[in-house]
Symmetry: C2
Subunit: 418 residues, 2 copies
C-alpha cells in the first residue's frame, strides 16, 4: 500500500521536531512565567457549539465527524472552545482569568505552501467579568514581546484601535462599518487599487475612499469625534504602559490599516510582522473584544487576547533558513561497549545520568564504523568506549567527536568534561 | 442554547489543569533526559493507513471524518502513526530510533467513568533496523520507573515474556495460541472461572486448562522447551539489566498471566499497577514486538515500547484523592495598586519579573475585599500593595497571605522575600 500522510498535516523529522518543541517550550515557559494558566479543551466539540456564532467562511473548512447519534466536529480555533469553557465553568473561575492554550486546530483549507489543515495555535487571553482594565492589553503584548526576543526574531507589532476607524467612518458618514473594516483588512494582501474598487462597490463615494486612505496613511490626521478620541486615548495609554513594561519603542508601529477581519474585536487590534519577511503575513494577531461568550451565556465577559500561529511561524523560519539559530542535539554522550562489557557500560550509564548528563548506551551488533556514523548523524559531542582494558583500569576512552581526539580518563573526569 | 462539552472529553478546571501539566511536564522532561526524540504526528490519518492492520475491535470506535473527497479519521493510538512514520521516513531516520510522543488519541468508547473518548497517551518506543538488543527492553522500563518515582506513586511492574506462554502452550500441544493469549489477558477482569469456560469453548481439554493455571500461578514451574528456555533467559537478562540500571527489585513482579491482548507483541510484555488500586487496571503497558511496520514497508523494524495512559492516570489519581501531593500555584505575588499608582505598579511588576518572580498586577476596579478574595482563591502567597505613601517612600506593603501580616519594605527586600 501507498504510505502517506494526509495533505496539510505538518509532520516533522526528529531534528526539526526537536527545534519545534524547543520553540514551543519557550512559548509555554514564558506563558507560565507571566502567570497564564494552561488549558486544554477537547479537539472535538458539538457542531451547535462550534457554529453558535454562525461560522461563515470557517464553517466551510470544518472537518465534521461521521456519527449517527451526535454531531461532532474538530475545533477550528482555540477561541470558541475558550468561550464555551468560560460560560460552562463561569461559577468556578476566578476573574480576571489569564489562560494560555497551545493546541492543534483543524481547517480544511485549500492545500498550499505554508497553509496547514492541522496546525498549532499558541493563544493567551485575559478574560474579565463585566470590566477589564486597559492594562491587560499591554500585558498580553508584553508576553509576546518576551517570546519574540527569546526567539531572537526581528519583528514589529503593528497596532491599531478599531475605535479610531469606527469613529472616522462615522465622521465621514459611512454606514457599512463592519464590512468596510473587513475590506481594509485585505489591504496588505490585495493592494490599494483593489480595496478602492471593493469600497466603491459597497457604496462609498470616491471622495470618502480618498479621505479614508489619507486617514489610514497618516498618524497625525486628527478628527473631532468622541469614539475617535477615546480610541486615541487608549492607544496613548497602551504605549505608555508598554514602555513601562519594557517593550522597546522600535518594536511598535501604529498602523491605522490594521483592522483584523473578525467582527468581534472592539478596541486594540494587533498584527505582528517579521521585518525582513513582511510578505509572509502576520505571525501573531489578536486584540480586545467586548464580549467573549455572548452566544453561550448572559454574563458579560470582555477580554483581550493574542495568538501565535506556531506551525506557520515554524514553517516561515524553516523556509527562510532561520532555523540554524535553534540547532539542538539530544545527547551529551553515547556509550559504545565492546562485547562482554555491556553490563559494565550500564553502570557507567547510570552514573552519568545521575550526574545529569543525557545519553544512552549503543548496544546493537555491528562494526565500529557504523556506530560512529550513528553518533555523527546525531551530532553526539562525546563517545565513551568501554573495552576489557577500560573495565580493568576503570579509565574509559572519551572521544571528542568534533576533533576525533581520544583520551583515557576516570568516570569523574568524564562527568566533568561531558 | 445548552452549553456543553461532548461526553468522554476530559476538560479540566485551571487548578487541575496545572497539576495535569505538571505531571505531563515531568513525563516529558524525563523522556528528554533519557534521550528520546519528541514526535508529533497528525491527529488525522487516512483510513487506509489506520485500517492497514485490520483494526478489529478498535475500528468500531474510530471517529471517521465526513469528507466527499478523502477518507480521513482520527488516530486511535500513537503506534499506528509511528509505524507509518518509520516507513515513510525510513531513509532519513537513524536507528535505533528513540522517540517519545505525548498526544491525544480518540476512541468512541462506551461512556463510563474513567474511560475517555479523547485521551492523552505518553509513549516511548525504541525502534531498531533488523535487530534490536535486549538492553532496550530494560531501558524503556527504566524510564517509566523514573517517572513513577518522581510522581511518588506506589506501583509495581508486572512483567512477563510471551515466549514462556507460547513455549508452554506448544509443550502441552495447544494450537490456538494467539486466541488463548487473548483470553488469558482478561484474567484480572473476568476471573479464573470465566477464563476456564472460554478456553474449553475454544477446544482446550480440562487437563490442559488445569496445567495452564498451574503454570500461570507458579514461577518455579519449569519445562524443557526451546522457546520457553529462550523466554526465561531473556527475562533473567532483563532483571539483571534493570538492577544495574537502578530499578528497585521491589517494583518488579514476574507475572505469567500478563499477555497483552494485541497480536503484535512477541517477547517481553508489561503492565503497571498501583499497589493500593489494583482494581483500576494498568496505568502503563507495552512490550517487545518483532516488526512494527509490516503493513507499511518491507523493512524489518523490531521495537520495544511502553505507553502511559496519561488522562486515565490523572483520573485515577484524582478519584483516589491522590492529587494533593502535586498541589501547585501559579503566582508568587500579585500587586494591588491604589488609584493613581497603576503605572508605578507596572514598574515594580517589571522589576519583580526581571528577578524571576511570577505574578501580575491586579488592575481592575473594585473593593479591596474582592481583590483579596481573588488572591485567596488563587493561593497567592504574597500581595504587594502600592499607594501614594508607598510610592513616595519607595517602600511597599508586603502582605503574607498565610499569616495576614503586612510589612513595609524596599523592592530589594521584597524580591528577597517573595
Amino acid at each position: 500500500m501507498q504510505v502517506r500522510t494526509l495533505a496539510g498535516m505538518m509532520e516533522l523529522l526528529p531534528s526539526d521536531q526537536l527545534i519545534f518543541n524547543h520553540i514551543k517550550n519557550i512559548i509555554e515557559k514564558t506563558f507560565v512565567e507571566y502567570g497564564f494558566y494552561p488549558l486544554d479543551t477537547p479537539a472535538m466539540e458539538s457542531t451547535d457549539v462550534l457554529y453558535a456564532k454562525g461560522g461563515g467562511e470557517t464553517s466551510k473548512q470544518v472537518y465534521e465527524i461521521k456519527s449517527s447519534k451526535n454531531d461532532k466536529a474538530l475545533r477550528f480555533d482555540l477561541t470558541v472552545p475558550l468561550a464555551k469553557y468560560c460560560a460552562l465553568y463561569f461559577q468556578d473561575l476566578n476573574f480576571p482569568f489569564r489562560r494560555y492554550h497551545i493546541g492543534k486546530v483543524f481547517r480544511g483549507e485549500r492545500n498550499q505552501k505554508g497553509r496547514y489543515r492541522e496546525f498549532y495555535q499558541a493563544d493567551i487571553d485575559i478574560i474579565g467579568h463585566n470590566t477589564l482594565s486597559l492594562y491587560n492589553d499591554a500585558e498580553v503584548i508584553r508576553v509576546m514581546a518576551e517570546i519574540f526576543e527569546l526567539l531572537n526574531l526581528d519583528y514589529t507589532f503593528h497596532i491599531n484601535n478599531r475605535k479610531l476607524l469606527n469613529g472616522f467612518l462615522d465622521y465621514i458618514k459611512v454606514e457599512e462599518k463592519t464590512e468596510v473594516l473587513r475590506i481594509i483588512d485585505k489591504l496588505s494582501k490585495i493592494g490599494q487599487q483593489e480595496v478602492s474598487r471593493l469600497l466603491i462597490d459597497l457604496g462609498m463615494t470616491e471622495k470618502q475612499v480618498e479621505q479614508l486612505f489619507l486617514f489610514l496613511e497618516s498618524e497625525s490626521f486628527d478628527i473631532d469625534h468622541e469614539e475617535y478620541r477615546e480610541g486615541k486615548k487608549e492607544l496613548d495609554d497602551l504605549m505608555e504602559n508598554l514602555s513601562v513594561l519594557g517593550v522597546k519603542k522600535s518594536r511598535i508601529k501604529i498602523d491605522r490599516s490594521i483592522t483584523r477581519g473578525l467582527d468581534y474585536y472592539t478596541g486594540i487590534v494587533l498584527e505582528t510582522f517579521l521585518n525582513d519577511h513582511y510578505e509572509v503575513g502576520s505571525i501573531c494577531s489578536g486584540g480586545r473584544y467586548d464580549n467573549l461568550a455572548e452566544n453561550f451565556t448572559s454574563q458579560s465577559l470582555p477580554g483581550v487576547g493574542l495568538s501565535i500561529g506556531l506551525t506557520r511561524l515554524f514553517y516561515i523560519l524553516k523556509s527562510e533558513n532561520l532555523l540554524a539559530a535553534f540547532q539542538d542535539h539530544l545527547y551529551d554522550f553515547v556509550i559504545i561497549p565492546m562485547k562482554g562489557c555491556e553490563r559494565h557500560a550500564l553502570s557507567v550509564l547510570s552514573a552519568l545520568r545521575q550526574a545529569g548528563k543525557k545519553g544512552f548506551a549503543y548496544m546493537e551488533n555491528g562494526k565500529m564504523g557504523k556506530k560512529f556514523t550513528f553518533c555523527d548523524k546525531e551530532k553526539v559531542p562525546y563517545v565513551i568506549i568501554i573495552g576489557e582494558e577500560e573495565m580493568q583500569s576503570q579509565k574509559y576512552s572519551l572521544r571528542d567527536m568534533s576533533t576525533g581526539e581520544q583520551e583515557a580518563m576516570t568516570l569523574d573526569k568524564i562527568i566533568e568534561r561531558v
